[in-house]
Subunit: 259 residues, 4 copies
């Protein structure tokens, strides 16, 4: 089983290589990841410029590895379309340092990379641990191996996009696995204004929200020391609104075409 | 009613100013948009660098206008957090030259801008016309006015994110309005490899797909000369998978914690 | 006489348009300039990526104007190679807000733009005023007109690259014109370290040097309320060192080739 | 003796590590270089954005190494101002794949890095080999060692900026060392126009010039299978023009101040 690994923290991030090392037990691992940190680039694909990619000397001997001067989504598109020979059967994006929860999955580069795999027909898993420092990767790497084995044994569906977040805990402190839906955003945007001597600038930073998460959401699971697994798809359609809007579509068309 | 207009074609794109001119009939228009074309940046938010923004001389006299050296999402975050005084009640992103349909809405900068408005509690509409040349903006501007008026008259719900695509036709050739769900992607990624004399490059370009669109989708509507209105939300949860995955969560946790 | 105007403050900077307005008395003015501020990009030329350029609506009616998503040097190369029809006979880069003096001319985008004109055989003038706020452009625009007229009347040599700096004073307070050589740098680099919540950053800012400028230098002239005109060329050869090094070249070759 | 090594081909370029390996015989080597290729960025310094730098795992064990998301000049400024503890006594920039000759030294990132060292009081050497493929680095590394030893033995002046180019030959085919002055540019700019499906683009590429180089220039030396050593400084003043311009300065001031 050939496994593609990407991330958004950049190809030299330790979380990626811990993941690679673990997955080598299960299959052949190929790495294609951004050369620089690409946090919050979300689904972004570079269409207006050519991209550069190059084979790098891997941090683990023998692992075919390429870095791309672009986003995680770019990396996956190039991996599947040009860089990798042969069929990819599973994709992991991560292990990200910092959770990707709630509305924030939409701007997560980690999820953006996994999403491109999924749109190209590959079972894809975004994997994050909820901490920026002193990150425990062991539970996440072990979970990755578990899932990869289940995939190899056909114990999981092939059309699959999972967003997995772990609390930053050693494995024996983790209280369970919850299948969750996405909560509302866990952060607010704060704008720090400054001046560089010549011009003003605006820096978007993340402010912590202080609300209680809804039970059953990814945010709630991680706050309760559980692993959150959220099945995603690529469809933002708000199906609960289709009917009420259909009632309005005639009105809209009449208004539009009335003289 | 204060209306924020953004886009992903850049602040000097004609589609934006046609839209602004039309919306001035309905409310006070403020423009905050990227200074450069930002196609396919999707949901991307710039967190790792400060942003520059500046007031510009508008193409229509009297319209408060700022350009941002960033993405559409950045523009909306800065607009709401720093640049605009007073409450924004409606947001339009567009008029984009080129449709944003199916899976591609996930990488659309036009939708990415509207999504940020929606996540901040503002009814937000992404508006695109399906052509890159000789674009007919009239039907789209008229539709925008219709929707803005309905919003002002409380004939539309306030919690709303719409992705609207129009066929590139004059108004009297348009055959109706369909409320649709997103189809599968309408493009495939093709990678053009080249060499600049010093290094190889890879350029992701859009190849046309040749499949028949499913009835009821946005792609189907536009191909049938109808306006497509798709209600979106910010939640990528694949709810149809929650139950089957829940059946597996115990297995996963046991595998994970077995010695 | 066709005059090309560029700058490094970006195509919408007021200093550029004051200059354009003044030069229209002397010849046909065409503007090709970066779309964004490009300070300190120096001589940088974009070879590894394609560039975008577009015709813009000028701030002064009738002036053919293009913005380039690149550096001042890129702008000049594109102007001369693709965008402008017909021969360019004179180039101005500016009016820059902020002096470009001493060693700093090497990293000045204003000078970088003029240098490309010069390397392509066009008499080229970099024009700066020594202030970042409340900038007096009148003396600089008048000086530009004076030089353009002298050029038209063949009162100045055609192979010419001038770096001109004005004190930020009204014309009647300026005490004269000095032809100068470049002084030593007028700034030191200070590195401001910070943290964005996820990673450390380093921001290079300009710290003021506190030394007395040497008489005859550009820095000295401007500090003494005079206009500084420094003739430049494109040759960094330190001719005063050629002889002493020649004495060493045999030694070096012997060392190099000894077993 | 602490030696700083930078380049413009990016920190993983083989030419840099061949150079590092050789210089380790002479002193303690520290590497601070751009994370990506930065050709033609010349003297460019990043002032409008903060920079990221990180310690990397070196390709040669034990060598303290940092990559910078910026230009060669940025790398040197950060190295000297923040990253490196203790005094740097010598700087090498290279080994560049491709010659940096004539007017092109002004836009060379390799020279731009060395120039920043020189402006900060460190003897600095830009080192390039005239080939993009099958590059012979042996003569260049050996020359670097020779120069570093002479510097350590005070056989070379401390205030020194050298631009060294080698023909792409094995050491025993090299015919000598010439101390040269810079020739005229060895390339012309060619603009390749294209279209990406949505917009036109312009790509600046290097076209070969077909003139005979002047004897005594760097271009002439390399074409004649010799090593070219050109002493540079940071002063673009065209001293041969000072007198003739001084004759005009009164005229200019009178014109300027006449009513």
């Amino acid at each position: 089983m050939r496994i593609l690994v990407t991330n958004d923290d950049g190809i030299y991030a330790p979380g990626l290589w811990d993941l690679v090392k673990a997955l080598m037990e299960v299959g052949e691992v190929v790495v294609v990841a951004p050369d620089r940190e690409q946090s919050a680039v979300g689904t972004s694909v570079t269409l207006h410029q050519p991209l550069r990619a190059r084979k790098i000397k891997p941090l683990i001997r023998g692992v075919e590895s390429y870095c791309v001067e672009g986003t995680p989504a770019d990396s996956v598109i190039l991996a599947l379309g040009s860089l990798i020979q042969g069929k990819v059967e599973l994709l992991f994006s991560g292990i990200n340092e910092g959770a990707n929860l709630g509305d924030d999955v939409l701007i997560s580069g980690t999820v953006g990379g996994a999403l491109q795999g999924y749109l190209n027909g590959i079972p894809s898993i975004a994997l994050s641990v909820g901490a920026l420092e002193d990150v425990h990767f062991e539970a996440a790497t072990r979970l990755a191996v578990t899932i990869a084995r289940m995939m190899r044994n056909h114990a999981l569906p092939r059309e699959m996009l999972l967003n997995i977040n772990l609390p930053n805990l050693p494995l024996d402190k983790i209280k369970g696995v919850e299948v969750t839906h996405l909560g509302r955003r866990s952060y607010s945007d704060v704008i720090k204004e400054g001046h560089d001597g010549k011009r003003e600038y605006y820096w978007i930073v993340r402010g912590k929200q202080e609300w209680d998460p809804v039970e059953g959401t990814d945010i709630w699971a991680v706050l309760n020391d559980k692993i959150s697994i959220t099945p995603l798809h690529g469809d933002l359609t708000n199906t609960s609104r289709l009917d009420s809007l259909r009632g309005l579509s005639q009105v809209i068309f009449q208004e539009l075409t009335s003289p």
